[in-house]
């Protein structure tokens, strides 16, 4: 019996040694702007879905680069493709188009989780 009440939970740490970069690189070939985000947060601050669902294209881009695809997809399901984020991005990233490309490139298996 575990008297201290500890249980083993999976590590939430990011292990860059294990990140599979292949699909993000594929994404970058069609969306070279994917790596230009400077994490300013303008997109999330403007996003009508953000306050309720936590959707943030900033976080999606980060998570895809850190091997946390599942978290990214869970978030992206809340996007309404309204395009407000694209209007405000100071780096001029077409975030709406980027979201569509992410959906297309990361295969359906994960996209539909």
């Amino acid at each position: 019996m575990n008297v201290f009440g500890f249980k083993i939970s999976p590590s939430s740490a990011i292990d860059m040694d294990k990140v599979d970069r292949a699909r993000f690189e594929e994404l970058c070939r069609v969306e070279p702007d994917a790596v230009r985000c400077m994490a300013c947060g303008s997109c999330s601050a403007t996003c009508p879905a953000s306050a309720f669902s936590g959707m943030s294209i900033r976080k999606v881009l980060l998570m895809l680069q850190r091997g946390k695809e599942k978290d990214a997809f869970r978030m992206m399901r809340n996007c309404m493709l309204c395009g407000k984020c694209t209007m405000v991005c100071p780096r001029g990233i077409n975030t709406r188009h980027l979201i569509l490309s992410i959906c297309r490139i990361y295969d359906d298996k994960e996209g539909k989780q």
Binding site: M38, T46, S56
Partner: protein, 339 residues
């Protein structure tokens, strides 16, 4: 005969250059389009990092350059190249022949009303960094209501690092200016909560990081990492600022009595026009293009034409003064070499 050197722009770069040229025995002519000397620094109050009164610096510069030939309210009408010199026509009808031109036309402050979402010119509680310096100087600005100052915000990177504003460059001086001004306001309004909304804090210069630590430790300034997305007004006439707090990963809002926009340093269209008369190249950021950005910042690709100060990009006062001296030395070496 004393060599004539034409200095275009009577800001601190032009004044310092004139003063050094006089010491070396040359005849500088300053052409200044406005009605006063000193450029932007004449509008500032105290200068980082030592909190030197801007007026002290200016009086010294104006004093040491007073023997130069100075034309105020004067623009360049035309310039053309002769065999080994230039013929400059001034708007006052005077024409000058010279072998040496020093361009010190400086920068322009980004017009904050172009970022409509920040409400400059729409809401009374929204001012710029330059407006605040004015207020420090003359205490006269209807938008700053002394009696009611509970919360104040600073927005970094207004018109800088922004493709939508067509300025991708970092203006370099506004992070430190925001912190300097935040401290100055906290000294005047000790009970106010002060917030800086930043994307990155770029405190590259000598003593700048000390300002940051002081702002945190001694003045309790709140630093929020997120770019302000919109500003609106509530029924009490206060402004509400929205952003993402990117470190907390959550949307954030705060209600303020005063919002200060850190307008960036952008290229001066007057510089560009003047450079255009001599077909001088313009860099991708809109500023004048030096021969290169490592070894020859003060040289243009044209013989006899030099640059100093913020006409080639955002610079601090000490950097501007150093460039003015360096350009003068280059001109001097060139003249000596020919003798």
């Amino acid at each position: 005969m004393k060599e004539i050197i034409v200095i275009i722009g009577g800001g601190i770069a032009g004044l310092e250059a004139a003063s050094q040229l006089l010491k070396l025995g040359y005849s500088p002519i300053i052409v200044e389009k406005s009605d006063h000397l000193g450029g932007h620094v004449s509008r500032w109050n105290k200068l980082f990092p030592d909190m030197t009164p801007a007026q002290d610096l200016l009086s010294e510069l104006i004093m040491s350059s007073k023997d130069a030939n100075i034309f105020l309210n004067t623009a360049i009408s035309s310039m053309n190249r002769l065999k080994d010199s230039y013929n400059i026509m001034l708007s006052n009808g005077i024409s000058i022949i010279t072998k040496y031109i020093l361009i010190t036309t400086g920068f322009r402050l980004f017009d904050a009303s172009k970022k409509e979402e920040y409400g400059y010119g729409v809401y009374d509680q929204v001012i710029t960094n330059a407006d605040l310096e004015h207020w420090f100087n003359n205490g006269n600005d209807g938008r700053i209501d002394n009696s009611q100052m509970n919360a104040i915000g600073f927005v970094h990177c207004v018109g800088s690092r922004d493709e939508k504003a067509r300025n991708t460059q970092c203006s370099k001086v506004c992070c430190i200016t925001a912190i300097k001004q935040a401290i100055e306001l906290k000294e005047r309004f000790p009970d106010a909560q002060i917030y800086c909304f930043y994307m990155d804090l770029r405190l590259f210069g000598k003593k700048f990081e000390d300002f940051y630590i002081k702002a945190q430790k001694d003045f309790g300034i709140h630093f929020i990492r997120g770019r302000v997305s919109e500003v609106s007004e509530n029924i009490e006439g206060k402004v509400i600022v929205k952003a993402e707090d990117t470190l907390a990963g959550k949307p954030i809002k705060v209600t303020l009595d005063l919002l200060v926009l850190m307008s960036g340093m952008v290229c001066n269209p007057d510089s560009t026009r003047t450079a255009g008369m001599m077909a001088l190249p313009i860099d991708s950021d809109g500023f004048l293009k030096s021969s290169d950005n490592v070894f020859h910042i003060t040289s243009s690709p044209k013989q006899g034409i030099y640059y100093a100060g913020a006409c080639t990009g955002p610079k601090t006062v000490p950097e501007t003064l150093a460039e003015a001296r360096s350009a003068v030395l280059e001109i001097h070496s060139h003249i000596i070499g020919k003798e």
